[in-house]
Symmetry: C2
Subunit: 422 residues, 2 copies
């Protein structure tokens, strides 16, 4: 395998034209779309139209005339197509953190009614921290115990005491991909509700919420959906649960008739009751461009085709690192079925500085610190977004990594200063 082979893979890649749907900076190999997705070509124009025309000219009337009021549902319906949800089952709202609060609160309300003796919520210690912070707050409020496992193997032994199992389908550090259908089936067999965080899977791997019969799901707009920095998040509720309880962040947009301005809350039917405050029109409009860009892949085989390419990219990455950089340990699963759309590496020292040295060379991945107790290493994390990542990008990224290591370039002092966001 050499660079020409990678170039040939791109030449033969039927998804290659999708890269042109993005406005990517020259000279950058961007392998951080799992932190912030790249800018779709349509976004700037659409955002300008929303600001200057819909807001500037239409002003308040655009809530009706530009259909702002149904944006959360309209974009939710588009996201539903990439996560295996039905139409009318997904809304765009708020942030991942706040949506975790809403769906976990509903899951706990259901569990309290159906299985009041179960007082445990299970999650993983390596879950993305915000999920744990929110779960911990809600568990304290409601009198539940949040039990964190260090390995998925420990989950089964806890299920009989559990009310809810809350997992992120693809681990943000390692890219480990849980088998959602099997885990959900096991949870249900043992009387436990399954809440799934799709932040690192929606738009990156095929997700089938209905097929897996999951209970609740939430996900991120700014990673593989390319919705922009801090884009609004989304959530899904299984129709069997949706009208059973209202969620506690019961703002007016979740009311059955917000403009009646009634002092008493009456939740909307369906997933709209998971809305809270006034939707952020500019931000949701930007997110819609990202989702539309992803949906353009439907003409090229959709998420199944994107998944195949994603696995090809991470497999190539792992192969080339293994042969050229044996000092690095691959922290992502080598089993294709268990690997999300990223490759994570670790090394004895200098992970942070190595990432910085790569960034200076135009190869943008990111650093994720290991846990304070040293139970897992610091990580060099490289996300691949099959919509725009090329095989040659992987080859060149590894080439730069070889150079960074060969010359001890990464030891230069300038790579050791931490930014506010690291």
């Amino acid at each position: 395998m050499n660079r020409d082979d990678a170039v040939a893979l791109d030449r033969d890649d039927p998804l290659a034209p999708l890269r042109d749907l993005f406005d990517l900076p020259d000279g950058t190999i961007y392998l951080d779309g799992n932190s912030l997705g790249a800018l779709p070509r349509t976004t700037a124009g659409r955002v300008a139209e929303v600001v200057t025309q819909e807001w500037g000219r239409g002003l308040i009337e655009s809530w009706n005339t530009a259909s702002w009021i149904t944006l959360p549902q309209r974009v939710g319906d588009k996201i539903a197509r990439v996560v295996g949800a039905g139409q009318g089952e997904v809304v765009v709202a708020d942030s991942t953190s706040l949506n975790v609060y809403k769906v976990l609160a509903s899951a706990l309300s259901i569990a309290a009614a159906d299985a009041p003796e179960r007082r445990v919520v299970i999650s993983e210690r390596s879950n993305f921290p915000t999920d744990l912070y929110i779960a911990s707050s809600l568990c304290r409020e409601r009198g539940y115990e949040l039990v964190l496992v260090d390995s998925p193997d420990e989950i089964e032994g806890l299920l009989d005491r559990a009310a809810v199992l809350m997992l992120t389908e693809v681990n943000y550090r390692t890219g480990y991909l849980h088998p959602m259908a099997a885990v959900t089936a096991l949870a249900h067999e043992r009387g436990v509700l399954a809440v799934w965080d799709l932040c690192h899977s929606a738009g990156a791997v095929p997700v089938d919420l209905r097929g897996a019969d999951a209970d609740f799901a939430i996900g991120c707009g700014y990673k593989f959906l390319n919705g922009g920095p801090g884009a609004p998040a989304f959530l899904w509720v299984n129709p069997r649960h949706v009208d059973r309880f209202s969620q506690p962040l019961s703002g007016w947009m979740g009311h059955a008739a917000p403009f009646e301005m009634s002092p008493g809350y009456r939740p909307a039917e369906g997933v709209s009751r998971y809305l809270s405050g006034t939707p952020g029109v500019i931000a949701i409009s930007a997110l819609e461009c990202g989702v539309d860009t992803l949906l353009a892949a439907e003409a090229y085989g959709g998420l199944e085709a994107l998944r195949e390419k994603s696995l090809g990219l991470t497999r190539l990455f792992a192969d080339v690192v293994s042969s050229r950089l044996p000092a690095f340990r691959i922290e992502s699963p080598l089993d294709d079925a268990r690997r999300g759309s990223q490759l994570s590496l670790s090394i004895g020292e200098g992970a942070y500085a190595i990432v910085q040295a790569l960034i200076e060379r135009g190869v943008v991945g990111d650093f994720r610190a290991g846990p304070e107790d040293g139970s897992a290493p610091d990580i060099l994390r490289f996300g691949v977004t099959p919509l725009y990542t090329r095989y040659v990008d992987i080859w060149d990224a590894v080439d730069h990594l070889v150079a960074v290591m060969d010359d001890d370039e990464w030891r230069a002092e300038r790579f050791w200063t931490r930014g506010a966001v690291t």
Copy 2:
């Protein structure tokens, strides 16, 4: 008084140049800035820069290089200047609804610790509904009773049982302005915490949170701060309370060190602990333009001068309506000291259709339905934004209203169809 007098008032208005800071549609008299503020001239360019340059070129690095990570605090500090808060005391985050949840939760935590026997939260039945929906949810969760008064006079009699008094400084229907300092002082005298919603006052009337010694405050970004449709909201916490409790929507951005990615929540010091998920960069950047545009008024006498003009505008409105349209009842206080930046009218029938007929003529106010029990009338609501509303706009608006009524124009069938947002 005639139209020439109104033109003369504009000619002599020292604040008149501020109108040029907005991009207003020709032929519209916009009297709905208390629902959605108008578009500042700087916003479109700044939003385009954030999208194409900071996101498109800078990608993930802009969290550091473009200081995205401190946007909530930076814009919060600017808002602090118009609400009488100190630097470092305000953050921009989420929506009004969610911020009500956060600050009311903290207020209840404080009350539970300091005065556990007090189990009542007082608010007004005519408060903006989302505040009541959220308060009701939280009160149920925490075992408090939410008591709604029909008149401010009833508040005093309830204080001895109350933990928290939660009021909106300027009523969204009538524009009634509570005397914040006096009400807060009375609440404190009786051992009650005061939570203030500034949605209809921030940017419209001088607010002095520190002077009033309020306990908590929240406010809206898309009304008088001109931050755009569904703009993020803000919140303030009195420094004496801020480090006492952490709020329940404890997402990673409120953590003391979010990028340590520790599984346990440790709240940031100060008001940053009231952040939750990842900040919406595009939306907060648009809001910053709105706040900067308001701060441009500091060179013209700031909020005191804006307030004087606002009262001049609503006084003129009330005078002309009283003399030319005696069938309308003025629902806003005629006492300048008790009137916010709007004028609300009612009439025996047809309020909705009259508003629609005005909109067809380019005079944009809005309709607010009265409560279902008929205890208050339907409202024609006209907001004035002294940054861009002219005296002649008021004159012309009333002129159109006279025409709409004289010819029974409003009875036309086309004005009776309700939109999704009314």
